[in-house]
Amino acid sequence: MSTSTVDQFTLANGLRLVTAPAATGQVAAVNLWYGVGSRHERAGRTGFAHLFEHLMFQGSANVPKGGHFEAIERLGGDLNATTSTDRTNYYETVPEHGLDLALWLEADRLGTLREGVTQDVLDNQRDVVKNERRERYDNQPYGTAVERLFANAYPAGHPYHHSVIGSMADLDAATLDDVLDFHRQHYGPDNAVLTVVSSLEPEDVRDRVERFFGGLAARTELPEIPDPSIAPRRDGEVRETVVEPCPAPGVFLAYRVGELGSREYDVSDVLGAVLGRGQGSRLYRRLVVERGLAVDTGGYGNIMNFSFRHTSSLLVVNMLARDGVSGDTLEKAILDELAAAADGVTEEEVERARAVLERDHLQSLASPGGLADALSSSAQMFDDPRAMLDWPERWASIGPEDVAALAADALAPSNRLALRFEPEEVAA
């Protein structure tokens, strides 16, 4: 993917449009990133950004409830939406002749969603979201891990303290007026990046987007954005132990690292890959293969990077203990490996880590939908859709000394948040 083939335009109403060619023909990928996520929510109204993602499929002035899904599915398209702390993302990949319909559907719900949301719709989707919460968080072993990490990693009142899905009580408290207000505050063309990856000429795409989105007005009032600033490191270890019906002890260790886009974040990406990405990583080699202490997840999932543009990111190590291995033993073994990284890593390890990162990066850009998502993300966070295409060059400049230095600094005990899950003992 050459950066010279990416074009960008800004409509008069502030909508940022990015275009790029698709590697495969006859498809168009449409991807919208709205600059609203759970960090924009206020106390007592958590879960709104995500609830809103659901409501966006429930009909608008010219599209009936379920009509968006029906129209795209009829084209054989892929579609869905996701919500994170920082943004809400809507996307569809359709046969190229369906591009206009996809754009029209997106424009209609951006411009007129408030005419489609009723109390019945809200009640129904609130139930759906509560069941999503039960399915993903409450009825799963370790399901609340990420929610607990966020709650401990960011202090009460910080916009990243609460989970994206929100609490049951806040979901119950949501009124129709709250919901309509939220749309008014955050859903405007001036708060969105729209990317189209297709075989069409950039000017052709721009004309189509102008036709469908050009009549939408920018927001007249901008909401207050909660302050996300936080110290770059913790000032002491925090621990939480959860006893629940889980099958094995689970260890989660989270460390504050730099915000996405910073040099420190890039180094933390490489550090994370050296430690836990792939079967050549230290944690996999030492704790799964050599010592047999941790469950084998194929080299995936042992490192989670929660990358945030506006506040400190979290580098999380996660492993589950094997039969007969205690949580204490596993945690100590992980900590020994983290300490060893501070003593030094080899050039070969860093090379492998860079190769793995680059592989995953290229794979994520290989499909039209994946490329569109990366471009939207990059434009939204860095005001430059091409920024993420250069990631491999940034990793290339990172050496073993950088990695070891960050390990010594960021993986220090005082910057640690330890979350442990211990199986509940069941009476015989």
């Binding site: 495969t24 409830k65 046969p95 509560k130 999503e132 072993p141 939408l216 079967q279 469950v295 094997r322």
Partner: protein, 452 residues
């Protein structure tokens, strides 16, 4: 509020005709090669397919194929040596064992395809297979299985086979914890010697192949191997027990129940695919399917409901799945069965027929916009013995679907009288209401008893 000026809904023109990419076949030594050139796709998928799926395993060795697949990752030097070697090439090992096939491969940047394919061939043909490594892999699979079963939806999905089938399909493909324990390193070595070491298989290569010597790749993979022999599996047998019936796996305190409604289905070759898949789409294969609209969008019981046909070389199964709030468990089961019956009795609506026909035809460029999705079709063609223009023929079949064919398909392929409903949830709360819906007897089963 000032209403924005919206453009009117666009009327779409006809879609551009789609043809599945040209398939290039050749033979190198004892092996077959299937290649698809996709210019511009710099990441290639390489797959090697052997007809050594789990269904062909003998009764005393259930799980040996999957354990062998895992043990290959220890490479020629043992001790997990393969993946790190591939990772240094920016390549990723891909391997899975299905009921009908044993697949190994790599995803790799095209400019590294020669080295990565060489590593693939070495790992497959002459692995170290150290006993310690195999035992470690076996124990890890067994423990991972237990972990997976702590997730209610996974437990429900794993339990279905034992309720529908006797014989191989009754036991999970990885053998389950008890069967797998009986598989020793010698069995793995023997399975590998008979099925993989010197058996050519079929090489599949997809990506931008403009500068790739595909035949050269094939020579590095096939060497002096011999041609694969078609498997001769045992016949498919059904499980005993009343039909329909409900089986509850107790998970005290669950706030949701994981449901799978399932029955046996014909084999891939026996089924009228457009009709079967079309019926699957309407009942549970799309967001706008009947089960999802009813259980999620109308009743708000669940985050999502789906259904599908899993049609194998030998027999198959239909499953409808969802997770519902505990207090709605019985109604969710009853409503799902009623919806299946309604489709059998009343057939599809004009809108549903149009949606199936259009989505399965005009959507093909979307389905195959990823390299790995094209590779998966080629694997399917090889494993199921399908013609190279399978996708184009299937499209013609969907184009020709009618409401009558869909009704026939619903009556042929949906069998509510043969359903088994597997419910993983709080038995104390759900068993009573489930008994009242009239879907046959309700029994409680100990999950640990399922895997023998």
């Amino acid at each position: 509020m000032t209403r924005p000026v919206m453009a009117s809904r666009p009327v779409l023109g006809p879609p551009e005709p789609y043809t599945f990419p040209a398939v290039r076949r050749s033979s190198v030594g004892a092996g077959d090669v299937i290649a698809v050139d996709l210019p511009g796709q710099a990441f290639a998928s390489v797959r090697l397919v052997h007809p050594a799926g789990a269904f062909t395993e003998s009764e005393d060795q259930y799980g040996v194929a999957m354990l062998t697949g895992d043990a290959l990752e220890d490479g020629q030097e043992g001790n997990g040596s393969l993946a790190p070697a591939l990772e240094r090439h920016g390549a990723e090992w891909e391997s899975w064992v299905g009921w009908d096939s044993f697949v190994t491969g790599v995803d790799v940047p095209v400019n590294r395809i020669v080295d990565a394919t060489r590593l693939l061939a070495d790992a497959l043909r002459s692995p170290a297979f150290r006993s310690d490594d195999i035992v470690r892999r076996r124990d890890q699979i067994r423990e991972a299985f237990v972990l997976e079963c702590s997730v209610p939806s996974s437990l429900a999905a794993r339990a279905v086979g034992s309720q529908l089938f006797a014989g191989r399909y009754a036991v999970p493909a990885n053998g389950g914890p008890k069967r797998l324990d009986a598989v020793d390193p010698e069995m793995v070595v023997d399975f590998h010697r008979r099925q993989l070491a010197n058996v050519a298989g079929t090489l599949i290569v997809v990506g931008d192949l403009g500068k790739v010597d595909v035949e050269g790749l094939a020579r590095s993979v096939f060497g002096d191997t011999v041609r694969a022999q078609p498997p001769s599996p045992a016949p498919v047998r059904g499980a005993e027990g009343a039909q329909p019936r409900i089986v509850v796996l107790d998970r005290p305190g669950s706030v949701q129940s994981a449901l799978v409604l399932a029955h046996r289905a014909p084999s891939r070759a026996e089924a009228d695919l457009p009709a079967a898949y079309g019926v699957g789409d309407v009942i549970g294969g799309m967001f706008g399917s009947r089960l999802n609209l009813l259980l999620r969008e109308e009743k708000g019981y669940t985050y999502g409901a789906g259904a599908r046909f899993d049609l194998r070389r030998n027999g198959g199964q239909f499953t409808a799945s969802c997770q519902v709030e505990t207090r709605h468990t019985a109604d969710a089961v009853a409503s799902s069965v009623a919806e299946i019956v309604r489709l059998r009795e009343g057939g599809v609506t004009d809108d549903e027929l149009a949606t199936v026909r259009e989505s399965r035809t005009v959507g093909l460029p979307v389905n195959y916009s990823k390299v790995w999705s094209v590779a998966n079709v080629l694997i399917d063609i090889e494993v199921q013995g399908l013609p190279d223009d399978h996708i184009d023929r299937l499209r013609a079949g969907f184009d020709a679907l009618t409401a009558e064919k869909m009704l026939d398909g619903a009556r042929e392929y949906l069998r509510p009288d043969e359903l088994v409903a597997v419910v993983v949830g709080d038995a104390e709360q759900v068993a009573g209401p489930l008994a009242e819906i009239g879907l046959g007897p309700v029994s409680q089963v100990d999950p640990d008893a399922l895997w023998s």
